[in-house]
């Protein structure tokens, strides 16, 4: 008979069992089926409102001033990729803040899940995978809506920008998940929305070139994940790729996505053990 006598608790495995992740398909499909109606209209309307208001109308003023837009042909072309990347971040926040707290506090779904053969890494991975799918769908629609405005330089650029947008979202998912699995009260969300999501949205180069910021703020902006996502998306959509910088962006986003995922597994493991 197998027994253990180790005096210290052995850490459970960190890597997910992909078979176990796949078993949660039924659950997440059910979740999607009961929520998609609420999101499908806004998925089309929100990008349209942003592109028209910011790109077309505000852009009309900006272009008249002859601004330097990092080589973008028009303000519309400059702002559209930025909006798409910022939108990916917002969907990421939406999928990994309240829903995570719901699964812990209100429905206790995670507690039910880890009483079955599923383990914490499987549960986290499936939730992040679902968030990834939602981001893919929403940013896909965003790109479709922007297409008629004629800002995309090449089809290839669009096809590559799409996974980059998903990656940008995923870079935030793990971090938000870890945070949501740590805090006990939903008042913690007001904090990250006000101090993180909104400032990043406004100051990460989505709306204006960050060279307009003071040198200190510009340096800070270059460290934020959203700027890397915005800049890489813009390079691909406007065909202005600088390979070295693009590689830095990509590495940064991948490291953050993987790091956030590990952090999320660790935090949920801690939370569920108590």
């Amino acid at each position: 008979m197998a027994t253990s006598t180790t005096p210290v608790p052995v850490r459970q495995r960190l890597l997910p069992d992909w078979g176990m992740v796949a078993r949660q398909r039924v659950y997440w499909t059910t979740v999607y089926q009961r929520t998609w109606k609420g999101s499908v209209i806004t998925s089309f309307v929100v990008p349209l409102l942003y592109v028209v208001a910011m790109g077309v109308l505000l852009g009309g003023f900006v272009d008249r001033g002859g601004a330097d837009l990092e080589g973008a042909p028009s303000y519309l072309a400059f702002v559209a990729p930025g909006l798409a990347a910022a939108h990916a971040m917002q969907i990421a926040a939406g999928e990994t803040t309240w829903p995570v707290m719901g699964c812990l506090k209100w429905h206790r779904t995670y507690y039910a899940m880890v009483a079955t053969p599923l383990a914490v890494p499987d549960v986290v991975t499936a939730h992040l995978a679902f968030a990834g799918c939602r981001i893919a769908l929403t940013t896909g629609v965003f790109l479709l809506v922007m297409a008629p405005f004629g800002v995309f330089a090449t089809v290839w650029g669009v096809l590559l920008a799409w996974p980059v947008l998903v990656l940008t979202g995923l870079a935030f998912c793990g971090l938000f998940f870890a945070y949501s699995a740590t805090i006990r009260s939903e008042s913690g969300f007001a904090l990250i929305y006000r101090l993180l999501v909104i400032p990043l949205f406004l100051f990460s180069g989505a709306f204006f070139p960050i060279s307009n910021l003071s040198p200190t703020l510009e340096a800070i902006a270059r460290l934020t994940p959203l700027w890397h996502g915005v800049d890489l998306t813009r390079m691909l959509l406007l065909d202005t790729v600088r390979p070295g910088l693009a590689l830095v962006h990509l590495t940064y986003l991948v490291v953050l996505a993987v790091g956030g995922w590990v952090l999320a597994v660790w935090r949920l493991d801690k939370r569920l053990e108590v």
Partner: protein, 327 residues
């Protein structure tokens, strides 16, 4: 059933830590700590197939911590533990695949209907959709919720939710069913319905492990139980053996005017093996209640009300978890 120490404060490990063949749960020196706080102080356990085993104890006794270790969700801090012959630290998913867990707090999905709760849960065990549906219908019938199959969980009463949770814990046809305070907070009717279902499972040969702080529940459901207090096992045995060992055959309950009980306890202390002072009455533990009562009257004491009854697990519990003033 193998012989085991029937008494013993904090049972010592069996000589050589021998393992009893076929134990579904086998623990030696099992400990659980959270930071500086140790919730379980090194306990020994063996649960045999087909047995109905109970953890009895007040809140904070370490019952739930032990259950979570047995459920292979909380790794032991020290000691050895094997569930279904496997080590939960290395074979958690394999163990959990064969367990049915009915947690203390409901973890049902409030936004899914009753049947979908079962079908979705079945998928976590890798049970295919058609089979999951068949089992869900069968279990809804078993817990008498068939006519609620399409209802939302939020519309169920507390008792119905517990029954649904039990149905859900049976979806994988588990070898071992863990029930953490299955009837806490339910009204008497709902409790009896639930006990009836659990009794049927017991009849079918399922191994049940139950935690409770209700004595009547322990007497109803458990073949054998351990009493836990402050992280230790303070007694173990069948309900009857525990009563025989830790209490007397009968109890005479004397009710006097409020506030007099503590003073009067002194005057009857020699009439019983043990006297327990409760705010509203005195409990005299004795072999012959009527005789004790007669001698109380001989001393000129006139209780407002008297009752002679058999000892119950509650008496054992009160004694073991330490509320006796006169011993």
């Amino acid at each position: 059933m193998t012989s085991r120490p029937t008494s013993g404060v904090r049972s010592e490990p069996l000589p050589g830590g021998e393992e009893q063949a076929g134990s579904l749960i086998h623990a030696r020196g099992l400990r659980k700590s959270y930071g500086d706080f140790e919730a379980v102080h090194g306990i020994d356990l063996d649960v045999q197939p087909g047995e109905s085993f109970g953890f009895l104890g007040p809140n904070g006794a370490g019952k739930s911590s032990t259950m979570r270790m047995i459920a292979a969700v909380s790794p032991p801090s020290a000691g050895s533990l094997s569930i279904l012959g496997l080590d939960p630290r290395t074979h958690g998913p394999q163990i959990r695949a064969r367990l049915g867990v009915c947690p203390q707090e409901d973890t049902l999905d409030l936004e899914l209907n009753i049947r979908d709760n079962l079908v979705v849960y079945a998928s976590y065990f890798g049970i295919r959709k058609a089979e999951a549906g068949r089992r869900a219908d069968e279990l809804l019938d078993f817990v008498q919720l068939t006519d609620k199959a399409k209802a939302k969980v939020v519309d169920l009463s507390g008792g119905m939710k517990r029954r649904l949770t039990i149905a859900r814990s049976l979806i994988n046809d588990p070898d071992l069913l863990l029930l953490d305070e299955p009837t806490t907070g339910l009204d008497p009717q709902a409790r009896h319905l639930l006990w009836d279902r659990l009794f049927r499972l017991k009849q079918q040969g399922k191994t049940l492990v139950v935690t409770t702080h209700y004595m009547d529940e322990a007497e109803q459901l458990c073949d054998r139980l351990v009493v836990m207090d402050g992280g230790d096992i303070v007694a173990q045995g069948s309900p009857l053996a525990l009563i025989r060992e830790h209490s007397t055959r009968e109890v005479a309950e004397l009710r006097f005017a409020v506030g007099e009980h503590a003073a009067l306890a002194e005057r009857v202390a020699d009439l019983a093996d043990r006297v327990e002072v409760l705010p509203d009455r005195l409990l005299l533990y004795t072999h012959d209640g009527e005789q004790t009562l007669a001698r109380v009257h001989e001393r000129g004491l006139q209780p407002v009300a008297v009752l002679v009854r058999r000892s119950t697990l509650e008496d054992v519990f009160l004694r073991l978890t330490g509320r006796t003033l006169v011993d």
